[in-house]
């Protein structure tokens, strides 16, 4: 399997996969960029999105992407509530409190999902889940392309929001200098709430596309958390474009790693790269 001919396939797969990784990581990047919060529960929130899509699919027969219309507002409210009642208060308590509360949320989510849905792995299988598309003579899974497209769209949307809207500018300002932002009349508590809520929207979307691409279990959140962190570390915290590129890089590293060193070592190579980047340039390629 080592270096057997076709490197283009893993390359393209890596890029497309990277789009999914970026989609998962965008919310984390924004929350970290704005609030300096390591949301350990992020992976589990994404999986919550996956289960949400699953619930809508099995109970109402809705296509998962269509189901987003319902789950997005719900996740938005959940995010706002989490920030306002849990995380927001945590910052005033101690330096480790936000981390610990995020951990607690992670535990609650994982086990609530386990109780509701059993540890069996689920997947969001739709009529088009198993289709593939071709570039030249090569075939690729359609879901990967959908993931990539979703990733680009969400990234551009978030970027536009942060740059062009008043609330977005307030969020950006609060991330650059919290004290100054407060002095400008920005209600940082509320702004953080919005930031978290928006991150939740991207998590909901990521969850759905994740579920369509890979099977998931209540504990899948942890592995995707690590991937999301890796993406954000490489691309730079707080930069939407940077996170996207970070995702692509991570995806390529993984698939090419698997191509050269065998599929078992894929993730190891990824982790090593993340650690290397952490050691050399922790703020990532585009971070501040």
């Amino acid at each position: 399997m080592m270096g057997s001919g076709d490197i283009i396939t893993p390359l393209v797969m890596g890029i497309l996969l990277g789009g999914l990784y970026a989609l998962i990581a965008l919310g984390l990047s924004m929350v970290f960029g704005v609030m300096r919060l390591i949301n350990l529960a992020h992976g589990d929130l994404v999986i919550l999105g996956s289960y949400g899509g699953y619930a809508l699919m099995t109970l109402l027969g809705l296509d998962p992407i269509v189901g987003l219309v319902i789950s997005i507002p719900l996740m938005f409210l959940l995010g706002f509530a989490i920030q306002k009642y849990l995380m927001g208060r945590a910052f005033g308590i101690s330096s480790e409190a936000p981390l610990i509360i995020a951990f607690g949320i992670s535990l609650v989510l994982q086990n609530a999902n386990q109780i509701l849905w059993t540890p069996l792995s689920r997947a969001l299988n739709t009529s088009y889940s198993n289709l593939s598309f071709s570039i030249g003579l090569r075939q690729f899974p359609l879901t990967y392309l959908l993931d990539f497209t979703a990733g680009i769209i969400v990234m551009l949307a978030l970027r536009a929001f942060l740059i062009h809207t008043y609330l977005g500018k307030a969020i950006t300002a609060a991330s650059q200098d919290k004290k100054a932002a407060q002095l400008m009349g920005i209600n940082t508590k509320r702004v953080y709430g919005y930031a978290f809520a928006i991150a939740m929207i991207s998590a909901a979307i990521a969850g759905v596309f994740l579920g369509m691409t890979f099977p998931f279990t209540p504990t899948s959140g942890v592995s995707f958390l690590t991937i999301a962190f890796g993406t954000v570390i490489i691309g730079g915290l707080g930069s939407m474009l940077g996170t996207f590129i970070g995702g692509i890089i991570l995806g390529i590293v993984q698939t090419l790693g698997g191509y050269f060193f065998g599929p078992a070592s894929q993730m190891l190579i990824v982790y090593v790269i993340v650690l290397v980047v952490l050691a050399i340039r922790p703020q990532g390629l585009f971070g501040r």
Binding site: A173, L183, G185, I186, N187
Partner: protein, 244 residues
């Protein structure tokens, strides 16, 4: 009532954690005047400003603005009432454009609807900001950044502006420019409280001043009174300075 103080701080104690920074401080600001707070680095000047702005809250004592108790409001509410702070070190948003920095200044409720007019007025005070409006803030010179910081404060349509160490690190020519702009701002009826270490210049520009020493009010009075005060002369100049 033009002699009812705009802002009245009465006997406040302020702590940073367990460390007491202000002791029994009382300050009054009258509408339309220019008040100076003078003191060395550790005198508690910034703590006082931060307390007025709602970033800190007094452990005892009251703060009244236009007769209303504001001691325990959140910072954004204080801005909405009409008090803005131009913080020490400017603290402009480094990676945002000049225009964005100014627009953020108008974020709070009542100022937002008037943001175009406020912007115009700021450009009148500081034409250079209009020229550089698309520039990223961190690329501006020190003096321009200070103008931006003041302009940002103006965008919130304040009744009272608190300016912390405006002249820090700036050349005298630039400082002159800034004080000239402050004159214009004063003419609009905005009350100014500014904090400085540069005593000489300060007493020239201010109507009244308070001198803070390690968290307490040491002296207060009109600029002329203070100029004549022996202690001020000895402590800060050793020589006669206020002979203008």
């Amino acid at each position: 009532m033009s002699d009812k103080p705009l802002l009245r701080i009465t006997n406040i104690d302020v702590f940073h954690g367990t460390f007491q920074a202000l002791w029994d401080v009382s300050v009054e600001i009258i509408r339309g005047e220019t008040l100076a707070l003078i003191g060395a680095n550790t005198s508690g000047k910034t703590t006082l400003l931060d307390t007025i702005s709602g970033l800190l809250h007094p452990a005892k004592g009251t703060i009244e603005f236009e007769g209303k108790d504001i001691a325990w409001l959140d910072p954004y509410q204080i801005v909405e009432l009409g008090i803005t702070q131009v913080p020490e070190g400017r603290r402009i948003f480094p990676d945002m454009s000049v225009l964005d920095n100014l627009l953020i200044g108008s974020y709070n409720g009542s100022a937002r609807s008037k943001k175009s007019q406020n912007l115009e007025k700021v450009y009148q005070h500081f034409p250079r900001l209009q020229e550089r409006r698309k520039q990223i803030a961190k690329t501006l010179s020190g003096g321009e950044q200070q103008m931006l910081a003041i302009g940002r404060g103006l965008m919130a349509d304040p009744k009272l502006m608190l300016i912390d160490e405006m002249s820090l690190g700036l050349a005298p020519i630039v400082i002159d420019e800034l004080f000239k702009a402050l004159e214009q701002i004063k003419e609009r009826g905005i009350t100014i409280l500014f904090v400085e270490q540069n005593v000489r210049r300060t007493l020239k520009e201010a109507d009244r001043a308070y001198i803070l020493e390690t968290g307490r009010v040491a002296l207060s009075g009109t600029a002329t009174e203070l100029c004549e005060e022996d202690r001020v002369k000895k402590a800060y100049f050793g020589v006669e300075v206020c002979g203008v």
